[in-house]
């Protein structure tokens, strides 16, 4: 599990929209632009899911996109972490209970950090990712991962 500790120095993000209203997407995008500049933490947007370390999920996870999300998660190299951004990805938000929505990303894949808000501010998104990195440093999340199998 040494690899986990190395990842925290420069995690690469992969962003996947599972049927969001774009509100969270443009905030994730805003979080990557010069005003907030996450490259200070080594955070970079990965071009492909196979290069990614952290999967940023936005959106209410529609049934069609849910299959894709699962496949993307399986394709990610270990160790992998998932950040759910926005009320929709956390629990379904206003769309919970609709016939084509799976009510949140954690019904499909295990989620490590939740960032609620509709949409969360770019600062909040950075906050969540930094929280994850801090936890990686302490090694707690690795134990939790191992327990979950």
């Amino acid at each position: 599990m040494e690899r986990v500790k190395i990842i925290r120095l420069s995690p690469w993000l992969v962003h996947f929209n599972t049927g969001a209203c774009n509100g969270c997407d443009i905030e994730v995008l805003a979080a990557l632009t010069p005003l907030y500049d996450p490259e200070r933490f080594g955070i970079k947007l990965a071009p492909s899911i196979r290069h990614g370390d952290i999967l940023v999920v936005t959106g209410a996870v529609t049934k069609k996109a849910g299959e894709r999300l699962k496949r993307l998660y399986e394709q990610m190299p270990e160790p992998k972490f998932v950040v759910a951004v926005g009320a929709c990805a956390c629990s379904g938000g206003v769309f919970a209970g609709s016939y084509s929505v799976l009510n949140g990303a954690d019904n499909v894949i295990p989620v490590d950090v939740y960032i609620p808000g509709c949409p969360p501010r770019p600062e909040a998104i950075l906050d969540g990712i930094i929280m994850l990195l801090e936890k990686l440093k302490s090694g707690k999340i690795v134990e939790a991962k191992a327990q979950r199998g």
């Binding site: 997407d25 632009t33 996109a65 769309f95 209970g97 609709s98």
Partner: protein
């Protein structure tokens, strides 16, 4: 060993166009059939983003639907909410106060500025002009700040309510908004000049994805794609909802019909929106209360139907609301501008090269994303390949 079955497959070449990409929004699958480099057919697969909003609206009460309508699209949320709220006002026969009307226009125009800046930034990135993307995004933050000052949130404003808006602005906020508008206007003028003169942008966008005016109306294109082709469709000018009858503005129409014209329409509209916002702030009526007490709004909705149009940043947005006197709407029909532009707009790709495809798609301002899942199938000059099923299976296992 005898070959029992022959499967005929074209020479399939799968190329994901563009990387996975936070700049683009909703997921969509474009199946592009290419003959060599030339696009011959485009199939559009949708449904990755179908959240059943119309059914959800039928299940919830009118007032809850205002907030659900705002969440159909995050980028044009105030326009969605405004269109729905105006439909409810028609059913209830209510009229908002003049000050509320002006504030609604302000919120919608600020949204138009940020939406147009966003899509122009995305276009710059698609063309490989990353610096410009970052610069526009940096300056877009000023507009987001303006939205935050006005509505209390950066993106999802939740600003509209029946017979008014949900918060008012005072003098200090007004002055701050005005100073932000001054700064933004300078930058937009600079970017507009850049899009007009830059050699790379001109080479990539001029004469790409040309849509004739006849085609634009046949395929029911709305918004900047229609206005870029010389068709004057602007619900703001024709329906004169809210305060648009009192605020002077021009409808931008260009004749060229190519991707470049569509982007220029957006820059000109953004400038127009800046001057409209400034007009609103300078002429804000003081005599009336813009914020209704939400506890005292009418609870009962009489039966009735209404069809409202609004001009979203991407084009004409329509809401049809049918009430049968119950606390929940009987039918809500939402037609977003991208729905027409993307699904019907497949014809514009044909005859252009694969490399032009992202530029054309972005010039539509898609409310959809996932160029990363556009699959290119190469039907190169009718060359066919016959492969036995067995070979296929072995090939797959390697």
């Amino acid at each position: 060993m005898t070959v029992t079955k022959i499967v005929e497959i074209p020479l399939v070449l799968e190329i994901p166009i563009g990387p996975q990409h936070p700049a683009l929004h909703e997921p969509l699958l474009l199946k592009v059939y290419a003959d060599g480099e030339e696009v011959v057919r485009v199939d559009i697969n949708t449904g990755y983003n179908h959240r059943g909003v119309e059914k959800l609206c039928e299940k919830n009460t009118f007032y809850r639907d205002i907030f659900i309508a705002g969440r159909v699209c995050g980028i044009c949320n105030t326009v969605h909410a405004n269109c729905f709220v105006r439909a409810l006002e028609r059913i209830l026969d209510l009229e908002p106060s003049p000050r509320a009307k002006y504030l609604r226009v302000l919120a919608m125009e600020l949204e138009r500025i940020h939406s147009h800046m966003l899509i122009n930034a995305v276009m710059a990135e698609i063309l490989g002009f990353d610096t410009l993307f970052m610069l526009i995004m940096r300056d877009r933050e000023m507009v987001m700040k303006a939205k935050e000052i006005l509505t209390g949130n950066r993106v999802l404003a939740d600003y509209m309510i029946v017979s008014g808006v949900r918060r008012d602005i005072d003098e200090t906020k007004r002055d701050r908004l005005l100073s932000i508008l001054d700064k933004v206007e300078k930058r937009i003028k600079y970017y507009r000049k850049l899009f007009e003169e830059d050699a790379t942008i001109n080479l990539r966008l001029r004469d790409v994805g040309v849509i004739k005016d006849v085609d634009a109306s046949r395929y029911a294109l709305v918004g900047p794609p229609a206005r870029g082709s010389g068709i004057k469709i602007d619900a703001r000018a024709s329906d004169k909802y809210d305060a648009y009858d009192e605020i002077p503005f021009n409808v931008i129409v260009r004749k060229e019909g190519d991707s470049w014209a569509r982007m220029m329409v957006r820059w000109d509209e953004a400038l127009e929106s800046v001057s409209m916002s400034r007009y609103v702030l300078e002429h804000l009526p003081r005599d009336s209360n813009a914020v209704p007490d939400e506890r005292r709004l009418p609870r009962r909705f009489p039966p009735g139907e209404t069809f409202t149009r609004a001009e979203a940043p991407r084009g004409e947005l329509t809401y049809y609301v049918l009430s049968d006197g119950k606390p929940k709407p009987y039918r809500v029909k939402i037609r977003t501008p991208s729905f027409n532009n993307i699904i019907n707009g497949g014809f514009a790709y044909i005859g252009y090269t694969i490399a032009d495809l992202p530029a054309i798609l972005v010039s539509y301002d898609p409310c959809i994303s996932c160029m990363e899942r556009a699959i290119v199938i190469d039907l190169r000059n009718n060359k066919k390949m016959y492969v036995s099923l067995k070979d296929l299976v072995v090939g797959g296992r390697k």
